[in-house]
Symmetry: D2
Subunit: 284 residues, 4 copies
Amino acid sequence: MASPTAILLVSCPDQKGLVAKLANFIYANGGNILHADQHRDPEAGLFLSRIEWELEGFNLPREIIGPAFQAIAQPLGADWQLHFSATVPRLSIWVSHQDHCLLDLLWRHRAGELQAEMPLVISNHNHLRPIAEQFGIDFHHLPVTKDNKPLQEAQQLQLLRDYRIDLVVLAKYMQVLSPQFLQEFSPVINIHHSFLPAFMGANPYQRAYQRGVKIIGATAHYVTSDLDEGPIIEQDVVRISHRDDVQELIRKGKDVERMVLARAVRLHVQNRALVYGNRTVVFA
Amino acid sequence: MASPTAILLVSCPDQKGLVAKLANFIYANGGNILHADQHRDPEAGLFLSRIEWELEGFNLPREIIGPAFQAIAQPLGADWQLHFSATVPRLSIWVSHQDHCLLDLLWRHRAGELQAEMPLVISNHNHLRPIAEQFGIDFHHLPVTKDNKPLQEAQQLQLLRDYRIDLVVLAKYMQVLSPQFLQEFSPVINIHHSFLPAFMGANPYQRAYQRGVKIIGATAHYVTSDLDEGPIIEQDVVRISHRDDVQELIRKGKDVERMVLARAVRLHVQNRALVYGNRTVVFA
Amino acid sequence: MASPTAILLVSCPDQKGLVAKLANFIYANGGNILHADQHRDPEAGLFLSRIEWELEGFNLPREIIGPAFQAIAQPLGADWQLHFSATVPRLSIWVSHQDHCLLDLLWRHRAGELQAEMPLVISNHNHLRPIAEQFGIDFHHLPVTKDNKPLQEAQQLQLLRDYRIDLVVLAKYMQVLSPQFLQEFSPVINIHHSFLPAFMGANPYQRAYQRGVKIIGATAHYVTSDLDEGPIIEQDVVRISHRDDVQELIRKGKDVERMVLARAVRLHVQNRALVYGNRTVVFA
Amino acid sequence: MASPTAILLVSCPDQKGLVAKLANFIYANGGNILHADQHRDPEAGLFLSRIEWELEGFNLPREIIGPAFQAIAQPLGADWQLHFSATVPRLSIWVSHQDHCLLDLLWRHRAGELQAEMPLVISNHNHLRPIAEQFGIDFHHLPVTKDNKPLQEAQQLQLLRDYRIDLVVLAKYMQVLSPQFLQEFSPVINIHHSFLPAFMGANPYQRAYQRGVKIIGATAHYVTSDLDEGPIIEQDVVRISHRDDVQELIRKGKDVERMVLARAVRLHVQNRALVYGNRTVVFA
């Protein structure tokens, strides 16, 4: 429905004139800015920006935009990414036993909420295969044990290459990825079933119940080699009461998990989540 | 603590190059942009922006900034406001019987949350006078009846002039302002004790109870001559249950009212709420 | 997993000894109360209660419990309902174009969150048939026009009888049920895509956008012959901003709609929602 | 306004007939139950209940109710507390530098929201004295150092005895109470400025900022000798964004802190929070 756009994500040391320089680059080449958002982190001395403009009427061909912008970015010491709305990212969803996040993502995709392709589901178990097949998606069963993990990660990486995957979404995939894997592939988004940093690690609902909290939550974050420590994209919570046992926490938590994961994936796919240090700027 | 800044609020017909033109105006004169936020409303064909920059190092003297910007704004057909962080707005708080919004605003002011002066409280009743006096604020008692309303509004307008008031905050002031008054003075912010447009008019908590809603709310809006119909700045809600009678709704609602009003006043004072049509853009 | 239980929902004029009389009825017959919840509405002079107890070890056979309790209820002037957890209610879901509420209910049912049978989907359009069939549920297409409405409602009622339906769930069914229909069949739960009583009737998201609200919501209620005026079971909201156009409101609203409807259906199925006057007590 | 009531809080090993036995005790003595709430924790094998009834028309004099109920409680192995609405608890509020929780509690007290007496403020600093005096409350300045802590705690305990204090509220009192103190006096309610168990200990807002969370919170809990580990009464959260620096987290957090603490104190004062193990049942 929308006309094609380009998106620049920029981060660089803060200095005068950055907004003007970015805007001029687009305006001078005939572009119409649709969205421009900036953030300054005075403590880090950083300027971060997301600019989206229409390609219709823009004078630079797509393949020239990057090199042309690099001439501006280099003297500023800027890191930058260039994305095109027409280039739809390819996602691989990884699951274990629970289906709620998988189903939610597939359904939102079908409803047009996620501008992405979802050609590949990977699981360490076999029983969610029917769901993938029902949506016409390839399903690969790669059981993981302590012994075969390096081998299976090699397989997983090969699949990611074969399917030209841009983003892995751990949609309740109950295995830890090795640092080696994460060096080979990124980004990876995970949904953790607690309000991080509370209840990092295993069994957060059981521990939330034991602690007697009155609210539980879920956290979507980029995966790093520090378990549950990566940059947070989105969090949300739900109120519970003393009447809720662990099973009820799990049931109520599932709704929060799928909402939070879906929002995080959407923010990523729209190039709205920009990582710096161990934090994200979310240009929402 | 912060160095003095200037803030431009701009709205104009959407066209190419607006971000660049605004940013260049500031950059060309040596300014350092701290915050820049834009919004496009495609349906209305409007571009709206808030830009804040440091005056330190800016080459234009304050009194020249407006005329200089007008040279840019006129060909764009732009409406604009120029504010300086050093020019603290002067607020008058109007109340009737209930003290919770008044106290909350005075306390936040004392805590440094509201960069404003609050020299004048006006009430149609006398019994909140001690609170105003306790905070060292002038209190004027202007009882309003059907007969004396025009006279009293003239008095109120005179007080607003005498105290050089920039913003009137109706903090549970239970009188309707006449269209004549609103022609003479604006802006006025009101807190309505319902989740508008539900329960417009009188006795919203009683009607919420009668309707059996499960959530109640409050709405802060700019006052127009259409009662409870002005542009909404902020809303929030709180969950209730069948155990809550009207008294409990009032008690729970008071917390929402004071939070919502305080946020709206803060947004206004920071020049973050921009009205267009019957809506607001909130650059938060 | 749980052992079978019986549930009494009681409402009667308030008077001394009601808790004791209800509890004694169960205790005297050897029952173990699992949950007991009461509410008094002093204004209405009503006492309302929900009591759930284990049938294991209860001395009265199921068919005798009702008559035995009636001997206690009659002198109290009590209305009461008796439910058995083993008697699973049969639901018919009605839809038009949108699939999100239908899918959510079917999926929760499959996940074991809704102790109900769902044998029948009715729609005035044909295109959600594949979803029903995918879950192995009968789908009946009954297009409704102004002319054929009485005829189609007769058909619908016949289907409800044929399938022995206990509850109709309007999961975004965009037709109004006639008073005649509602006299023949109840209860019916509807999801309305606004925070009632705001935006009753058609196109609530468009009207919410026009009004410039900062929060939107959804409401699940029992259907009465007054459109959107029936007793509210559950409501919830989501925050929006000026960046959200009508399409975004619809997208965000869909998540609230399906959550709110699912919670309301679950409360009904667990016999936790008790109507009195135009209100509900929700024993959650 | 309300007629005087009695409240029983009971916890005992779960067994048949408990609701009946409690209700009969009140009914047999002519009492009218206003509220009855129960909870069973199957894992702990516990039954917990709160019953409130009108004393008007109740046949037992107040001083006999306890002994009479003990005859029922003993064979059940029940722990119980008996409270009278007419016996208003006496609170001591303890503060350090920040005034927002203190002001909020004093103001709610004055508004009639807290049925309690508040005769005593204790602080390790002197500068909130004017607030206490403004509300006509005694203020005692007891500076605490590592060396004088045992001495000052002895003074504090003496003050609690002198003022016949029933509950200590740590309203941002930035000192840890010793285990010896807690053996001498309880209960104590604390407000912790994080969403426990996240960010236990010092500087939670700084650490929340460093971690890059998207939501912050506050927790009111009973104080035990394990710092920040006591039974949680109430929690709430507020959404933040990358634009919020530590100062903004502190500002937004203050609103959550005072709401959460006020709700927790109100629940305690109304005898609605019942501790068992390291958890609370909140009969709200």
